[in-house]
């Protein structure tokens, strides 16, 4: 008994060490930009010879950079909210309905996950150009909704799998309508799953570069697109500051997701 416990603990320690090593391996390239971002604004150097905040100052005072950041946040927030409005009720309807075409419909929602992003980008570019949606904020939000919907659906569907269907039954017997049941019984149980999905969608939209590269123009450029073109044309060290900001934001969101998942595990 004791030995078994001990050895399983050792095994767990080894796996978690391995996992951390993998994370580090993946993280190091991103982490390298952090010291660079506090370096000399004149050129990219590692390690930096002096520590300054000049690069951040440049970022926040240059409207081209600053504006694309605001644009990215706007797109990410709008994408997240609109996707939630679409995907949460859709996931609920899919999970609870007895429609014969249910599986096919679910597959349709998941499609954007399977199509290579570059193909999706090209397709949307061709479609949107005929609809006049190129270089519009609405266009890029629409595209990002397509990309993030499957992820929120998956998160909500798995949340629904863990939620107790007897609670919905008992609410119906007590006289509650479908709508009341959705808002007062189902949603409160899905809070964590929805929050995880939302953070994930927000992060995806914020990071997304391929589709945005196709669809945005000078008027609507998001931060990743701006970074991408700046790598190609100027390679300014401001990139390091932007990357650091993005990394910190992503890390915070990832930690939020982990914390939420822990909480739901503990409560169920």
């Amino acid at each position: 008994m004791n030995e078994l416990f001990g050895s399983s603990r050792a095994a767990r320690r080894i796996t978690s060490t391995l996992a951390w090593l993998c994370y580090l391996f993946l993280l190091v390239p991103s982490l390298i930009v952090i010291p660079i971002s506090f370096g000399n604004p004149g050129q990219i150097e590692f390690p930096p010879r002096q520590l300054t905040l000049d690069l951040y100052r440049q970022f926040f005072t240059d409207p081209a950079w600053w504006g694309s950041m605001v644009q990215s946040l706007l797109v990410a927030v709008a994408t997240t909210l609109l996707t939630l409005l679409l995907a949460v009720p859709a996931a609920y309807a899919l999970a609870r309905s007895r429609l014969p075409g249910r599986r096919g419909l679910q597959g349709l929602f998941m499609m954007p996950m399977l199509v290579p992003v570059i193909v999706l980008g090209l397709g949307l570019y061709l479609q949107f150009s005929s609809w006049g949606l190129l270089d519009t904020t609405a266009g890029i939000i629409l595209a990002h909704i397509m990309l993030t919907t499957p992820y929120i659906m998956v998160s909500v569907l798995s949340g629904l799998k863990h939620s107790d269907i007897a609670l919905e039954t008992v609410a119906a017997i007590m006289g509650a309508s479908r709508v009341t049941i959705f808002f007062r019984v189902v949603l409160p149980q899905l809070k964590a799953a929805i929050a995880v999905g939302a953070l994930f969608a927000f992060l995806m939209s914020l990071d997304e570069v391929v589709v945005a590269y196709f669809l945005t123009g000078t008027q609507t450029m998001t931060l990743p697109v701006k970074m991408f073109s700046s790598i190609r044309w100027e390679l300014t060290p401001v990139l390091a500051a932007v990357s650091t900001l993005l990394t910190v934001l992503s890390l915070l969101i990832a930690l939020g997701i982990i914390a939420l998942q822990r909480k739901t595990e503990a409560s169920s």
């Binding site: 107790d164 007897a166 609670l167 039954t169 008992v170 609410a171 119906a172 017997i173 007590m174 006289g175 509650a176 309508s177 009341t180 007062r184 019984v185 409160p188 149980q189």
Partner: protein
Amino acid sequence: MTVTTAPAMVELQGVSKRYADVDALHPVDLTIAKGEFVTLLGPSGSGKSTLLNLIAGMVAPSSGRIVIDGRDATTLPTNQRGLGMVFQNYALMPHMTVFENIAFPLQVRKVPKAEIRRRVGAVLDLIQLGHVANRRPRELSGGQQQRISLARCIVYNPALILMDEPLGALDKKLREQMQLEIKRLHAELGITMLYVTHDQDEALTMSDRIVLMNGGRIEQQGTPDTLYFRPETVFSAEFIGSSNLLAGTLEAGPDGAPVLRTALGTFPVPAPDRPIERGAKAMLLVRPENMTLQRGGDTVHVTGRIEDSILLGGVVRHFVRCADGSTIIVQELNQPGRVDAERGHEVAAGWLPQHGRLLPAPPAG
């Protein structure tokens, strides 16, 4: 059989349910009177929950008509049937406090706030749990949670409360307490209740009427006394109470009265409720408490050897192994200074012929 003078709360007319390849419920007719406490009793898989869910509207019937409170409810959505239901796993909303849980059905009915507070307070007093109003369900014991889920039903006066093995998750002592509490609430409030259990003692304790289910059919229904003393089939006899069954062939005795010829002898039997042909296979039921151990024995009896005697508090059970290998159970009252026959001793287990009950032999297979 049961004469119901009160108006019907529920009427099932030829209601059945078929899943892809199983008949969960064969066509069933059942009437439940207003204010009645009816129990669906039967082994697991006999269709009890299916019957309950059909009444609740959670599954649609494959055939038949369901009338609730005088209204055809066959296709009425669940939330418009005006019922209450208590589940084995309580089904309380984990994100609501006890108060909010009980208030929920009232809010659904758009009852004014002040009245909600008053009515929730009243039912919490009724179940003596006023002090936990602000706690979450998971902070309460199983028994408390089940009382809350009962209160959540009572608070909106549904026409009928359905309960699907509500006490199945509780330990024996708590279960007995809750049985009495549910009976008390039924008597005080006069609500019609349809209760599902696979526990015969629970059914005998609580019911005005027991509906015994077997393989998706109603095997027999009647008062607890009827089911206990006048079972109509071997299944009923074996499911409720314990029973001694002697299999044999029905014949005419010397005086023309019916006798049953069995491997252990030929015994006089009372006339069955439904005529059984002479020469047909039949079974004689004698309840263990209607048998006594007789040392001499000139009444009707079988002989065998004492295999074991076990003490169950107020009563003693003797297991008598007969010549054909079957075991007869004899139950006697326990008394101070009782002397049991020794193990292996030859004894006679006797009974009064009028305490026997003749049943048709069960269908083969």
